[in-house]
Amino acid sequence: MPRHWLLRTRKGALAVLLLASCVGLAFAEGPQRTPSIFAPASTPAGQIQSLSWFVLEITGSIFVVVGGLLTFVVIRFRARDTDDNREPAQIYGSNQVELAWTVIPVLIVVVLFLTTARVIFAIQDAPKPKAALDVTVVGHQFWWEYRYPDLGIVAANELHVPLSSTQDPKPTYLQLLSADVDHSYWVPQLSGKVDLIPNHPNELWIDPLHPGVYLGQCAQFCGVQHANMLLRVYVDTPDQFAAWVKNQQQPGVQDPAVAAGRRVFETQACMNCHAVRGTAATGRFGPDLTHLMSRDTIASGAVPNTSGNLRQWIKNPDSLKPGSLMPAMQLSDTQLDQLTAYLETLK
């Protein structure tokens, strides 16, 4: 029976050593969704992980050797009570020794540098396949806008991408823009982070190899609610993704039963910032709400998308995400109920 990879390799042994404490603690906390950089699910994240194990081995060895020498010196050459009071032999230096501990680090740097350079070019300058999906990501204070130019979809906060595989690569290329200040796109299991900087478009690619939800968040301070600018990436199987695309391409549902709520939406300030395709609402400051109910969370991942949270969010956004740029709309209870009912039809 093949042993677990952790026990099979030297890297594995190091992994056990390094992560024992935190993994142990993490399990003790019950079901967790830790976005660990050592649990890659995409090629760039995987390449970074292999490189990082290599660097850890080298730096770890240096620490053991030099730290060991230091420990030896501290124990062996400590002053003892039994010492005579004579000063130890004075040694002023040695050119040979200096040369040795200059040349050896130079060699180590050469090795580390060449290995690093290879991975930089492999990730940054990877050729873009024809089958790649393009998504434009726009960072806002404090939420994410996703536009799929080829599919005619505008979504927010929850990114859906197709599953890729080594046989049939279907990577997703993210064009990173910012509407206001600097942000940074970081989903550790899928790739390293790249910043979203106004006037400075950037690019990032992922090719997720396992379906599921991957968590991350904004990694460049962007204002009051930087902490709740959370990222959720849904990696869908081809069928799931096709179904999701089909639904997102529809205009907003128009249910006569909630016409009152829609009237509130269109007569209050909501439509200044939010869009619902197929209606008069075309605002772009806030997230597109055409398919609000297809999302698991609201407020950029801050709270689950439940009826109660939705109503609370409209009533007083600060109670869920203090400092969020959405104003409290001062609606009556009836208007709140009507509006919530309308939003809940936007599947």
């Binding site: 935190c22 003790a28 906390e29 969704r33 830790t34 976005p35 660990s36 950089i37 994240a45 390449q47 490189l51 990082s52 660097v55 730096t59 030099v66 230091l70 010196v73 002053a79 003892r80 000063e87 130890p88 032999a89 004075q90 040694i91 230096g93 040695s94 200096e98 200059t102 130079v106 740097v109 580390l112 540098f113 690093t116 350079a117 991975v119 070019f121 940054q124 300058d125 204070q141 600097d182 940074s184 550790p188 390293g192 982070k193 910043d195 900087i197 106004p198 006037n199 400075h200 950037n202 690019e203 968590l215 990694a219 301070f221 204002g223 902490a227 709740n228 959370l230 203090p322 400092g323």
Partner: protein, 564 residues
Amino acid sequence: MADRTLPIHGALDLTPPREREGTILDTLHDWVVTVDHKKLGIMYMILAIFFMLVAGAEAICIRIQLALPDNHFLSPQVFNRFFTMHGTTMVFLTGIPLIFGFANYMVPLQIGARDMAFPRLNAFSFWVTLFGGLLLYYSFLGGSGLYGMGNAPDVTWWAYAPLTARAFSPGHATDYWALALIVTGIGTLGAAVNVIATVISMRCKGMTLMRMPLFTWLMLVDSGLLLVTITPLTAAQVMLVIDRYLGGHFFDTQAGGSALVWMHFFWIFGHPEVYVLVFPAFAIASEVIPVFSRKAIFGYPAMVAASVGIAFVSLGVWAHHMFTVGMTSVSNTFFVLSTMLVGIPTGIKIFNWLATMWGGKIRFQVPMLFCTAFLFQFLAAGLTGIMLSVAPWDWQLHGSYFVIAHFHYILVGAIVFNTFAGIYYWFPKATGRMMNQTLGKWHFWLFLIGFHVTFDTMHFVGFEGMPRWIYTYPADRGWSHLNLVISMGGIIQGIAVLIFAYNLLSSLFVGKIAGNDPWDAWTLEWSTSSPPPDYNFATDPVVGSRRPLWDLKHPEDPDWKYEA
């Protein structure tokens, strides 16, 4: 003893300071108007320690907020202000004043001078720095403008554009931040010029550059580096103020300005600044380790060369803070290489300290305890620095708690530890009294434990994807227990620092009388009385080697025979 014209009769007041005291007002007046390098050095130290306590209290509040997931101890607004103020204070009002506290007090004594080259500039620099600090903290009261009291800068200590534009940072908090850094910057430049001039022109007879104590060498290089790096910072702050008040568009991205330009300006200052801050730690280690190992420093010329080398290379590495901003693969590769190169002279320094201890008879008194811990911690910090220089890995680690752990390993594990070492080491010289060694050991061990509980753990929470600057985090990320551990370590460090503060104050009054040379050391400052008289030396000293007091104590085997 060449210059027999000194002392000019009556110029040197040798009465012990204690017998000269008048009323409290007289003493106060004495300190406010002083241009004496020793008094200014002590005032710089008090300034640094005061702001360290303030910024430390901010850190403790930050850690209480993060101890539990979804905690409500601090609001997001207050949290953001606290970490901005913590960083800004520690770098500009603790780190830099510490340099000049030590440099002011020790450099003239070590080179056998009567004072700094420009005593009035020295006083001016100190008061301007203090004023800058007060300006920064006044923002808590006056930063509000029209937006209500209780404001303060909340843009991180990097203050990336365009978050600092008036559109995103209304009110005056950001202005106080920019102006405070311009003002303290003027103080820093003045003090740096002064140290350079002093070292170049005030050395006593026989004190060639290659006979200067390494401490003085490092302060010289440090001041040179400060001159080069504070300038772009000040320029950037001026541009920011122009943007905010005169309609400039340097960093205003909505009018075609560039956010990247700010980053380049900031980091061409910001990275060398790290070395600026760590050089005093090197300086202290280079004095304490030889004295407590009872050996001459190993490879003195290599140590000097390594210091100068680090300073030069550090000017070409700034964009390793920008691996994630979308530079080309070629630029990224260049900065990987330049960053890794810093590891070589840094390694040389560690090896030379190690070799100095090798074969010695190491006395583990409190200063040496701190320096020993420094060596281990600095080694680890250097190695995590190598990890961060690996650009692809930095794409993961940048902006995470791993980075916080890395630079606190430098800033606390190296700089604060050695600052404590330096204070325990030179307190007897400055006050005439020893600090309590038992309390010192309690301070050391508690601080060591607290430091490792906090900052070792931070590396792991960074591996698990926790970004910095977040005021709260969801409970399901697996970060909760680790954060609780980190916060508890912070409390332990806080207790240790309180013990230190108590030790500092009580030793001032009841400490054992030290005598001139309590550690049996070798540099010139130990040849004069403790505390040294005004103008330091009754006659201008003449030195023949790097360890003038060794030569005096061992006339049968003096150093100058062996120094090339």
